[in-house]
């Protein structure tokens, strides 16, 4: 059976979402997106410029992808909402990734403002994917606010530090009834695989692909890693022995020894 997942009303095959910042050349982007087989691609609206066709980043997104503008640069819910409205007016569709960041040193998201923006935009018919700090109560509020998926960070944006928030991600994956897409911080394919093994519905990768020496080759590596991690999750991972190998049931083996009734 095909392993699809749904965001909004869209059934998706690819669990690798891609970002478009930091590439040394717009022309490298479509090749990387294709190699990743990504179906959802996010673009910072602040960079889109319909008045300058040759340099307009929107012209480099393959037409078969879902374009998901993001609100990079928004410091408040109000600014995020304005950017979303501009994106819609520019013909970028109804998908929106909310980024509300009022910390320029670590680029950590502001969960409260993110929830506010999600609520407003979801009511307006946007398919909202909010980027957030992994916090269970905030994630629940995002669900209530109408988010289509929840995108917690693995570590700060662009840091390539991997899944530093692993315990909190695990809780979100267990408790939130929406797709959890790990966004930000994933620096190498093995970390994407680890997120997928845990049961994440998908991962969003940008920096690790964009600044690789060969972006398209790295995108392909991420595609394979996401598929491997997902397959492992579906296959059911064996339990982990914290202190090395152990007898199969040292404490309750007596129950099978025939001495008890």
């Amino acid at each position: 059976m095909e392993d699809l997942f749904t965001i909004g009303n869209k059934q998706l095959q690819s669990r690798l979402l891609m970002g478009t910042g930091k590439f040394s050349c717009n022309k490298d982007m479509p090749k990387a997106i294709e190699a990743a087989a990504a179906q959802i691609v996010t673009v910072a609206l602040r960079r889109a410029d319909c008045a300058y066709e040759a340099e307009n980043i929107l012209n480099y997104i393959p037409k078969n992808c879902i374009l998901m503008p993001n609100t990079s640069g928004a410091r408040t819910a109000e600014e995020a909402v304005r950017i979303a409205h501009m994106a819609r007016a520019m013909g970028c569709g109804d998908w929106i990734k909310i980024e509300v960041i009022s910390d320029n040193r670590y680029l950590l998201p502001d969960n409260q403002e993110t929830i506010k923006a999600t609520e407003i935009l979801a009511k307006e018919g946007f398919i909202v994917l909010p980027y957030m700090s992994p916090d269970l109560m905030s994630a629940k509020r995002l669900v209530d606010a109408g988010a289509a998926a929840v995108m917690p960070l693995g570590s700060p944006i662009g840091s390539n530090r991997g899944l530093q928030t692993v315990e909190l991600l695990r809780i979100l994956i267990d408790e939130i009834d929406l797709p959890i897409i790990v966004d930000a911080g994933i620096g190498r394919p093995s970390e994407a695989a680890a997120a997928m093994e845990m049961g994440a519905a998908g991962v969003l990768v940008n920096t690790a692909i964009a600044i690789a020496t060969e972006p398209a080759a790295m995108a392909h590596a991420f595609k394979l890693a996401v598929q491997a991690g997902r397959s492992a999750y579906l296959a059911g991972l064996g339990r982990v022995m914290p202190n090395g190998a152990a007898a199969s049931s040292p404490l309750t083996g007596f129950l099978r020894d025939g001495e008890v009734l």
Partner: protein
């Protein structure tokens, strides 16, 4: 709390003494640390750290690409008036200098904007001298309304405003301000700024913070290199940036590293800041403040700029004129002589050849 109080913490700092104790091992230890404190930054500014420039440059390059990507933002300045009431001894616009004074009309500003926008740029930096008569806040903000038709991001490099005036600017659509302290040493500042509103050191020093409080998105600070010991000025610029970034987390704090250039004032630099010094400053700052922007102007030569884009710079000018109306009327009565005269298209070509994507638009004004 203001930055003046923050600076007080360093009043007993004896730089020669500090630097005399720095050994190679100290520099290497700093370079192994993940996150630097201010003392580490000063270590990287030491004469001893000059022996480790390649290692500093490698780390600076890696951090810049990781945090900003293989991209470089482009911008150009537009001088709209050069009347000035100040007597800054090193500046071409100094009130007592004989040069043709101009103030562009709104129609002339529109013509300049039209010309610049044909390059594809969406970021503009407008500059004036300090004159309540010829470059009042109302005049500048009227210019902003004209410029909004052509650009999605407008920054100002003008005299120090009050907080209320910065609020007014932000509400009018200004999203960035550049304010050079020129020199952080207050006694040298007083020697060089003989008269006019700019002669009040504290009011200028606090201007970036007033802009932060007013909701400005981008605040760009800097010291004019050549007026004092560059290591000291670089240190205080870094401390100032760190102070602002800590206190105003939502502001994008950036620095410029302008070196003095020849100008109508004919004032020679008090201190020579050579190319090695500039590279040390830029790389040390990048390692200290990995996410902060570094702006490089056309004061630097083509050769230096081609190399510096790889060492930490995130924003670079092109198609520059420092004359009022220079984009449409040519170069005369400029503030200082520029060194790199390449156009925006030529800068874009250079960036592509260096593996960087030129960014013409990186913000969409919301108001």
């Amino acid at each position: 709390m203001s930055f003046l109080q923050e600076m007080e913490k360093y009043k007993d700092l004896d730089l020669p003494e500090f630097f005399s104790k720095i050994k190679d091992q100290d520099v290497l230890s700093v370079l192994r640390k993940e996150k630097l404190n201010r003392c580490d930054y000063l270590t990287l500014l030491s004469p001893r750290a000059e022996h480790h420039l390649e290692a500093m440059a490698q780390r600076a390059r890696k951090l810049t690409i990781q945090n900003f990507g293989n991209v470089m933002q482009l911008f150009t300045p537009m001088y709209i008036a050069n009347y000035c009431d100040n007597l800054c001894v090193y500046c071409g616009f100094n009130h007592d200098n004989v040069l043709e004074r101009k103030q562009l009309t709104m129609a002339e500003i529109e013509a300049e904007a039209q010309k610049i926008s044909e390059t594809g740029l969406k970021h503009i930096l407008i500059l004036t001298g300090e004159s309540q008569k010829y470059s009042s806040v109302d005049y500048i903000l009227s210019a902003v309304q004209v410029l909004k038709k052509f650009f999605t991001s407008i920054s100002v490099e003008i005299y120090s405003l009050t907080e209320a005036e910065y609020v007014q600017a932000v509400q009018s659509g200004v999203d960035g301000m550049t304010m050079f302290q020129e020199v952080y040493d207050s006694s040298i500042y007083k020697e060089l700024h003989l008269a006019g509103p700019k002669s009040i050191y504290e009011f200028r020093l606090d201007a970036p913070e007033r802009a932060c409080r007013a909701g400005m998105r981008n605040v760009n600070i800097g010291a004019l290199l050549g007026l004092n010991d560059w290591r000291k000025e670089a240190f205080f610029t870094g401390v100032h940036a760190d102070y602002l970034q800590h206190a105003y987390k939502d502001v994008e704090v950036a620095v410029s590293t302008p070196r003095m250039r020849p100008c109508a004032a004919g004032f020679p630099p008090r201190v020579i800041v050579n190319d090695v010094n500039l590279v040390q400053y830029i790389t040390a700052y990048r390692i200290f403040m990995p996410r902060s922007g570094i702006t490089l102007s056309s004061r630097e030569s083509r050769m230096m700029r081609d190399h510096l884009v790889r060492l930490g710079v995130t924003k670079i000018s092109g198609g520059v004129t420092t004359a009022v109306g220079g984009h449409t009327k040519g170069e005369d009565s400029s503030q200082f002589d520029i060194s790199d005269t390449r156009s925006i298209a030529e800068m874009a070509q250079m960036l592509y050849s260096e593996g960087y994507q030129p960014v013409y638009k990186d913000w969409q004004g919301l108001y």
